[in-house]
């Protein structure tokens, strides 16, 4: 018979006549106690040993207990001082006694609480009177503590009530432990008599063992496969990037091409092409970051500037009216950090980015925009905008509803509602509301519409274009339930949060 080394050692060390504690067996067999225990249970499964157990209570004296065992319990020191001051006949002031007994700090309260409880006297209005009949020599707690501290007893002969009292005073710790015993069974004895060999165990499979064939003769040491392993920190794509990529996947799947373009751009592309009058409060209330250096774009396409100026001043079409607002190319040429990526849509629709576009087309971007807002848990100065548009002949609001219904369903946002809204650049316009997948609340999830002719005609587009925008961070917060976006995006981020966040797919 071959047994692993630990089992063999336990088998050889165990007795057929008596229960031996496993700790004793382990020591003798030169095994770790847990290895010996594991081996004993494995032997028991084989029927070679019997394992029995009993519960043992042990009492250990705490540091505080040791101190009192040495210097005396505070209440006894108080009693001694009281007797010496004659408090058995006449009450003595507490202050005087504390000094004599050498008590201060928490020991004072301990002394007072136990003094009265144990009948050594009374404390009344700061005066102490002592009971002359009390006998410190027979104090159970004192005797028990001293004997425990001197290791004259393990606590087994001390009354439970006294141990309870000492434990509640924090002077001793009691703990219960299981002691296991092992004894050879008849089968074990038979096996030993038949001869048992140790199987060779190895910790690590080595290249040499594989090439030499030695692996065939070895037994692998067992691991505690339930033990915690070393923590490993792998790389991980940022969750906002993951979310962005998921959005991109969905949009590509719906036939959208990705746009790309400048972050710092002329107001012309950011606002003027979008038919936002130069004095419109939106151009200030969006609070775009204006650039100081550089402050002006080199050039704008002349024909386009004239078309856009004309749309602003004269309107578009026979019945069209323009705005009654000033319009200058100088203002249009000023550089801003884009407040929305609709500037990219304008560049693409104008034919100045990838050439003239013929319908049908679908384009999108998931890129950063910049707003001069106040930084708070739900607002960042920089955030990602999901921007998408569809160019086709004769688009209706039903097509718009249908496209967005499909898109949001991919993220579990259903029951989309469309609230008529106003944007300077779309008509009709709709705010999108959806049902939050977790909370069931109605939340705003985007803004959309069909671009006005005052936007499209100057760009040379003579079919319909519908568009929508949404903050990626908003989608992320809906999907992950984050409450403070600053933990995620930016240099205030928390690496642990980014490391620990659950994968969403």
């Amino acid at each position: 018979m071959k047994l692993p080394h630990a089992q063999l050692a336990v088998l050889e060390t165990a007795s057929a006549d008596e229960d031996r504690p496993i700790t004793e067996v382990a020591e003798q067999a030169d095994l770790k106690p847990e290895a010996a225990t594991r081996a004993a249970f494995e032997l028991e499964d084989e029927g070679l040993v019997a394992v029995s157990e009993e519960t043992d209570e042990s009492v250990t004296v705490t540091d505080e207990g040791e101190t009192y065992a040495d210097a005396g319990l505070p209440e006894l020191r108080l009693y001694k001082a009281a007797l010496e001051a004659g408090a058995e006949t006449e009450p003595v002031s507490l202050g005087e006694l504390l000094g004599a007994a050498g008590l201060d700090g928490p020991a004072v309260d301990i002394a007072l609480a136990n003094f009265a409880r144990k009948g050594y006297g009374d404390v009344d209005s700061g005066d102490v009177s002592a009971d002359a009949d009390a006998d410190p020599a027979t104090d159970d707690e004192r005797l028990a503590l001293e004997r425990l501290a001197a290791e004259e007893t393990g606590g087994e002969d001390i009354a439970a009530s006294v141990l309870d009292q000492l434990e509640s005073r924090g002077l001793v710790d009691r703990s219960a432990s299981t002691i296991r015993y092992v004894q050879l069974t008849d089968d074990g004895v038979t096996a030993l008599m038949g001869g048992v060999e140790a199987a060779e165990t190895v910790d690590q499979l080595t290249p040499e063992m594989l090439t030499s064939g030695e692996w065939e003769d070895v037994e692998f040491a067992e691991y505690n496969v339930e033990a915690d392993a070393e923590q490993f920190q792998g790389g991980r794509e940022h969750i906002l990037r993951q979310t962005a990529n998921r959005v991109k996947d969905v949009l590509v799947g719906m036939g959208f091409q990705e746009m790309e373009g400048p972050h710092a751009d002329a107001q012309f592309w950011i606002n003027d092409c979008l038919f936002m009058p130069q004095d419109h409060p939106a151009r200030t209330h969006w609070d775009q970051f204006a650039l100081e250096t550089p402050d002006e774009i080199g050039s704008l396409p002349d024909d386009l500037v004239e078309n856009v100026r004309s749309a602003h001043k004269e309107g578009v079409g026979e019945d069209g009216e323009g705005y009654h607002s000033p319009w200058t190319e100088e203002t249009a040429s000023r550089l801003d950090l884009r407040g929305h990526t609709t500037s990219l849509s304008m560049r693409y629709l104008s034919g100045h980015q990838v050439g003239e576009l013929e319908p049908p087309q679908r384009y999108f971007s998931v890129e950063k925009v910049y707003r001069n807002d106040t930084l708070d848990p739900t607002h960042l100065l920089e955030f990602f905008q999901i921007e998408g548009w569809v160019m086709a002949e004769d688009l209706s609001v039903r097509d718009l509803f249908g496209t967005f219904t499909e898109f949001y369903e991919q993220f579990g946002i259903t029951d989309l509602e469309f609230k008529p809204h106003y944007n300077p650049y779309t008509e009709p316009s709709f705010e999108l509301f959806g049902t939050h997948p977790e909370t069931g609340d109605i939340v705003e999830v985007g803004n959309s519409g069909i671009f006005r002719e005052e936007v499209l005609e100057p760009l040379g587009v003579d079919c319909d274009v519908m568009a929508w925008g949404l903050s990626l961070e908003r989608l992320l917060m809906l999907m992950y339930g984050f409450e403070d976006i600053r933990d995620v995006h930016g240099t205030l981020c928390d690496l642990e949060l980014l490391r620990d966040v659950e994968v969403v797919y």
Binding site: Q233, G234, G235, R236, E237, L240, R241, K248, L251, G253, M254, G255, Q257, E258, E260, H263, A264, D265, P281, A282, A290, L291, E292, D295, E296, G298, S299, G315, G320, E321, H324, L335, L337, P359, P360, R362, K368, L380, V390, S396, V397, R398, F401, G402, T403, L416, E417, F418, Y422, E427, P428, I450, E454, D464, H489, G490, T491, C493, L495, E496
Partner: protein, 582 residues
Amino acid sequence: MPVVDVDPDELRDLTGHEDKDDDQLKTDLFDLGLEFEGWTEDDEMQLEFAPDRLDRLSVEGIARSLRYHYGDDRGVYIPSVNDADWTIAVEGQPEGRPYVTGAIVRGLDLDDAALESLIQLQEKLHATMGRKRSKGAIGIHDLTMLKGSPATDDGRANKSVTYTSVAPAEDSFVPLDSDGEMTPAEVLDQHPTGETYADLVNDFDRYPAIYDDLGLFSFPPVINGRRTEVTTDSRDLFIELTGTDQWTVDHMLNIVLYALSARGGQIERVEVDYDDDAPGEYAGQTLSRPDFAVRSKTVTHDRIETILGVDVDEGTVIDCAERAGLDATAVDDGAAYDVEVPPYRVDVLHPLDVVDDIGRAFGFNDLDPRYPEASTVGGRHERSRLEDAARDALVGLGFEDLLNFHMINAEENFERMGLADPREDGATDAVGAVDPVTIREPYSEDYTMLRTWALPSLLMVLERNTHRAYPQDIAEIGLAAHTDDTENTGVAEHRTVSGALARTDASYENVKGRLQAVADAFGKTLETPPTDHPTFIDGRTAEIVLDGDSVGVLGEVHPKVLVEHDLELPVAAFEFRLDALE
């Protein structure tokens, strides 16, 4: 978005629907696009709406919209206007504020609520169309306190006031909320309202002024005189507006007049008589105001059907238009409609705006979604694919991918990295040491420019995460920018790849090993000739040369930079341009 405070009892009164409870009103208002935001201390509803329908900036205007919504009113309504008794003579007015308009409303019986609503409407119009009074400002006066001399010229009405200008200390009057005479200059200097609006006229040599026979009574757009102050006892009002655009002030006037008409006032015309030498585009002309002319937009039936995505009949279109307060007449055998738009609708610029009104009346939300049939092929931009591929490579090497702000300040971008600010000390070859793109009047001193490189952002993240477990191997691929005259925008934007190993064994060798793996993955030949860079330790810094082009820097971060960022372990890092991996 504009918010108006509305007394629900007044709303019930003005709509004639006493039976509607507050909840029903809220639902009806929401259908119109007015969202209930809460109650004021005075138990008024705070209603928020998109800034197109400025005719709804008063309880009277909202009541009018509700009556159309309920079907109580239909089509275009134009209040009656009596003939002119007064003239506004315009001469010598400031060139910076050349336009004026006005009207008279008689027979009002204003209670406190009505007066409050009028003042609110005036303020809200100032804030929106009036562009904080710069483009248009409204002055409302008690007509009985004005004395106008009979005009002598032909064609003028009987009485007149004069819109002109006054030198800053030439004349004086008692302004509202004051007991003493003040010159216009003193108003701007000492009166609280004057101080608020001083910027609007500070550049003027002579200030806008309106006179009657008794003298100066209004200093637009700053403040009226006390003499003509409007109270609940005022029955007849004189309304004037001055501004930088005639259309704007005329239409602000129309909105005010519709509101006062709803309060039972009778509107009376005023002649605006521009002198032959008056600045502005109306010199020598007399304008009869208010201008209640309806505008007409022609919209095709086909366009209505394509926008809605459903077939509708002519009767439905006309019905929807009338319920929106418009009048539609079929023309061209029903192929199109002439739609008349009332003079308070400042938002209608194009026939499409009429289609939107018809759609709202029809009920957009009743339309079934459908997926557009147009078929297109989707795809990612090459740059975004490259960025993702590089990010995958870094993540595979154990880097935690980060996402930091593109905005930063000079201290973080330069000084704390040991780098000289090139605007002060001249540009060098060092990565990051290029002229930054800066922000005008930055809101926060933390964000004053675009970062020129990304390693400062990574060190800021390390600095803020010293309580988190190490190693911290982090990387970012993101935007960096600098000024560049050869770009049309004057800004060179590029994607930069930056990585940092913050760990006890961080060294040049193990950061180079990771960089080598990235280069190999993209089929690039990596060379690392020695260089120096103030962010890194001399002798442990190298240029990143990919396929022969110098594209970045790598090395062990200098202890002075580490200490500056409160880091207590070594950091080795690299940064290079993403397009080098193309």
